[in-house]
């Protein structure tokens, strides 16, 4: 499994935000995207995941496992997304948030409940099925969100400053948890971060975005 970017850039009206990016993200590796604020790191992730706001145009190509996904809608790309606010849906319980991620192909009430329970156990959240996500700690929320993303069986993962809202003490723990799961799944991941410690722990290639020269 691999994620390939060919001369990928994003235009808002006039010029491209950053110089075209070409990248080969190998399975199980985490590529860290760094660069100054406002250079368009999150926009790069949006372009890969299919979440660009209206008015933005993608230049170049995104390939996932040899399949060109550049023109596909976000929901058809099989690219998972993690961001700093965890993005758990506030109207659903923790368990139902995870069930939301489970593929439809897994049939049967009991089987689906079991899959959710297993995922919760993996995240150290056993028995928190019925909890309101708002009552979880920051670390628990991050772990639940990662499990929800992984349950959808993504073929690549995008992480947009996933640890920036966590305390320093917690950050190392959640980072290790996240990276271990990515390695276990053997999927390519792209992570935007401001924290050099994140990049160091990721141990993968480093992609530095710089302002487009005009």
């Amino acid at each position: 499994m691999s994620l390939n970017l060919h001369d990928l850039s994003v235009r808002f009206g006039a010029g491209p935000l950053f110089p075209p990016v070409t990248l080969n993200a190998a399975p199980g590796t985490i590529t860290t995207v760094m660069g100054p604020s406002g250079v368009g790191k999150s926009t790069l992730l949006d372009a890969i995941g299919g979440h660009l706001a209206r008015g933005a145009t993608v230049v170049g190509r995104v390939e996932l496992n040899g399949r060109d996904v550049t023109r596909l809608p976000a929901e058809a790309r099989c690219i998972g997304l993690m961001f700093q606010d965890a993005g758990l849906f506030p109207h659903l319980s923790v368990g139902d948030n995870l069930a939301f991620g489970l593929p439809h192909a897994l049939k049967g009430r009991a089987a689906r409940r079991q899959a959710v329970a297993d995922a919760l156990a993996q995240a150290g959240l056993s028995g928190m099925d019925g909890r309101d996500p708002a009552t979880l700690s920051g670390g628990q929320r991050a772990r639940a969100a990662l499990m929800r993303t992984l349950l959808a069986e993504p073929q690549a993962l995008l992480l947009d400053e996933p640890f920036s809202k966590l305390d320093t003490g917690l950050r190392g723990e959640i980072r290790a948890f996240t990276f271990a799961h990515i390695a276990k799944r053997g999927i390519p991941a792209l992570m935007v971060s401001h924290d050099p410690a994140d990049a160091e722990a990721a141990g993968g290639p480093l992609l530095t975005l710089s302002q487009e020269q005009t």
Partner: protein
């Protein structure tokens, strides 16, 4: 406790007292009167024996069952359709809609009074109206077709009229609810998990929007189940909906008809309650089914066609509404307009000049009522919010719910009872009771429109003023009110629009002697002279338009050199 804190408590106590004595008390008393009269006790006309006869008389009215069915059908269909379309439109276009631009687009529709919109739609939909005229060459009609397109026995024209007016309101309400939800992030999260846009909307966004729009939807439902003016103009005529029948009973020369009419008023209140119960059941059922559906994890990649259908229908309705307003104006200056011409052969201002004193008096009454009810409501709203600020109170949820009460109780259920009460207190029907009765419905809208911008005001501004030595009154007059000019004017424009649109309060509390543009237009609409009707309805629609325009232009001129205030706060 600081002086301003104590002042805040006093201010709020005053506002609460006014609210209870002048708003909630009268509604309760009016309902009580209706209840008593419905059970045969109305001493004013010498009826003093408690009995169920009025209810029997009501149920025995010829065609009572049909009226009841029509009321339920049109009320639920209009509310359901308006809600469905509004949700569909928001789902389809929310990410390309700029909130300010969409607010401006919706403003004229919100400003248009129900009656004017209904009259315009009648002009448009009637067999001799614009739509039939446009179709005539295609269909080969050499005379207006014999179709019941208005006042049809199924109430379809009534439903169209209600939806055309309620859709913009629900759109506005949903858009403002959406601004409280991180839609973009949740949409991305849902789509990254493989869900199509329409499905994310239904499974993730709507369940969060619903609690925020439940009360407005209840208002729409209660209104649709009990509307009088729109039903008079567009609704079925024989038999009409329940509310229209009640109006006829209330104005029957035989005063003993007041008893079954009062029983019917209570029935209207019960219908609204039943409507809320149905809504609550749908809410419960939706929650259970929704959860079951979410847990199954269906991705449903193809909800888009439904969304585009909703958008198409909604657009068509908005165009219909806009054309309706234009047709009012065109009819008011039409002279000779033979079938099947799309425009009159000859034009004339005679309907305007010929309307004379009647229209002038109605206009004066309408303006007087609009200005006084709006000023009253605005003062009360500002006193409430300022009291909250000075007393450092958190926003009181229960009080906000109470504000909605006058909008949730059908007008016809308590207004006649209120009238009886006013007469018993020895007050003469006239402008003053009408001002008060209208304010019951104007105040809630003004308060709702003003409270969010007021609470969103940067608290640093009054603090900075206080640090410079400005007392609470100076902070209010010199800092808060000027900075909040745009929302205050917007709330006033809404107040004017609500006041101008009032029909029943004016009719009942004015004892039939206070003629406004609305009461006259509704009366004229059953006649045959579209020109005169067009004059009254155009003026009726023109007043709120003028108010909205002023609310838009005044801040733009006043703050033309103040970028932070030139409309951004609206």
């Amino acid at each position: 406790m600081t002086r301003s804190g104590a002042e805040g408590r006093t201010l709020r106590a005053v506002v609460l007292t006014v609210l209870i004595v002048a708003v909630l008390g009268p509604i309760a008393a009016g309902l009580w009167q209706s209840l008593r009269a419905g059970l045969g006790v109305l001493p004013a006309i010498g009826a003093e024996t408690l009995s169920l006869d009025p209810w029997r008389a009501l149920v025995d009215l010829p065609g009572f069952g049909t009226s009841l069915r029509l009321t339920l059908w049109t009320g639920f269909a209009a509310t359901g359709l308006a809600l469905l379309l509004a949700v569909g439109v928001c789902a389809a276009v929310h990410d390309r809609m700029d909130r300010r631009a969409s607010g401006r687009l919706l403003a004229p529709f919100l400003a248009a009074p129900h009656a004017a919109m209904a009259i315009g739609l009648a002009f448009l939909l009637a067999p001799s109206g614009w739509i039939a005229r446009a179709l005539a060459p295609v269909m080969g009609w050499d005379r207006p077709p014999m179709l019941e397109t208005v006042n049809d026995p199924w109430g379809l024209a009534l439903i169209v009229g209600l939806v055309a007016k309620e859709l913009p309101f629900l759109l506005l309400v949903i858009l403002s609810a959406l601004s409280q939800i991180p839609v973009r992030a949740q949409m991305a999260a849902g789509r990254a998990l493989g869900y199509g846009r329409g499905i994310v909307w239904i499974k993730v966004i709507m369940p969060q929007v619903w609690p925020l729009i439940r009360l407005p939807v209840m208002v729409v439902l209660a209104f649709s189940l009990s509307v009088v003016d729109v039903a008079l103009i567009l609704g079925p005529s024989n038999p009409p909906t329940l509310a229209v029948r009640l109006l006829r009973l209330f104005s029957d020369p035989d005063i003993f008809q007041l008893l079954p009419a009062s029983a019917g008023a209570i029935l209207q209140a019960l219908l609204a309650l039943a409507g809320f119960a149905v809504l609550w059941l749908c809410d419960r059922a939706g929650r259970v089914i929704g959860l079951w559906w979410v847990r199954r994890g269906g991705r449903g990649l193809s909800a888009e066609p439904g969304l585009w259908l909703a958008t198409g229908l909604a657009t068509a309705l908005m165009i219909l509404g806009a054309l309706a307003m234009v047709s009012l104006l065109v009819w008011s200056v039409a002279w000779r307009w033979p079938w099947p011409g799309l425009l009159p052969d000859s034009w004339s201002l005679r309907p305007w000049t010929g309307a004379g004193q009647g229209v002038t008096r109605a206009l004066m009454n309408t303006v007087t009522l609009a200005l006084s009810t709006t000023a009253l409501s605005l003062t009360l709203a500002i006193a409430w919010l300022e009291g909250e600020d000075r007393g450092h109170f958190p926003r009181a949820k229960w009080a906000e719910r109470l504000i909605y009460l006058p909008l949730l109780v059908p007008q016809i259920a308590f207004l006649y009872g209120l009238n009886v009460l006013v007469l018993r207190l020895g007050a003469a029907p006239g402008l003053v009771p009408v001002v008060w009765a209208q304010a019951l419905f104007v105040f809630p809208y003004v308060m709702i429109a003003l409270s969010d911008p007021w609470r969103a005001l940067d608290p640093g501004l009054p603090r900075a003023a206080a640090a410079l030595g400005a007392g609470p009154w100076r902070r209010l007059w010199r800092v808060k009110l000027p900075v909040l000019l745009t929302p205050i004017l917007t709330a006033s424009a809404i107040g004017v629009a609500v006041s101008v649109a009032q029909y029943l309060p004016t009719l009942f509390l004015g004892g039939g002697r206070v003629a406004t543009l609305t009461t006259e237009a509704v009366t004229l609409s059953s006649g045959s002279d579209r020109r005169i009707t067009g004059v009254y309805a155009s003026l009726q629609a023109g007043l709120p338009f003028a108010a909205y325009l002023a609310a838009f232009l005044i801040p733009a001129l006043r703050f033309r050199n103040r970028r932070a205030l030139s409309g951004a706060a609206a």
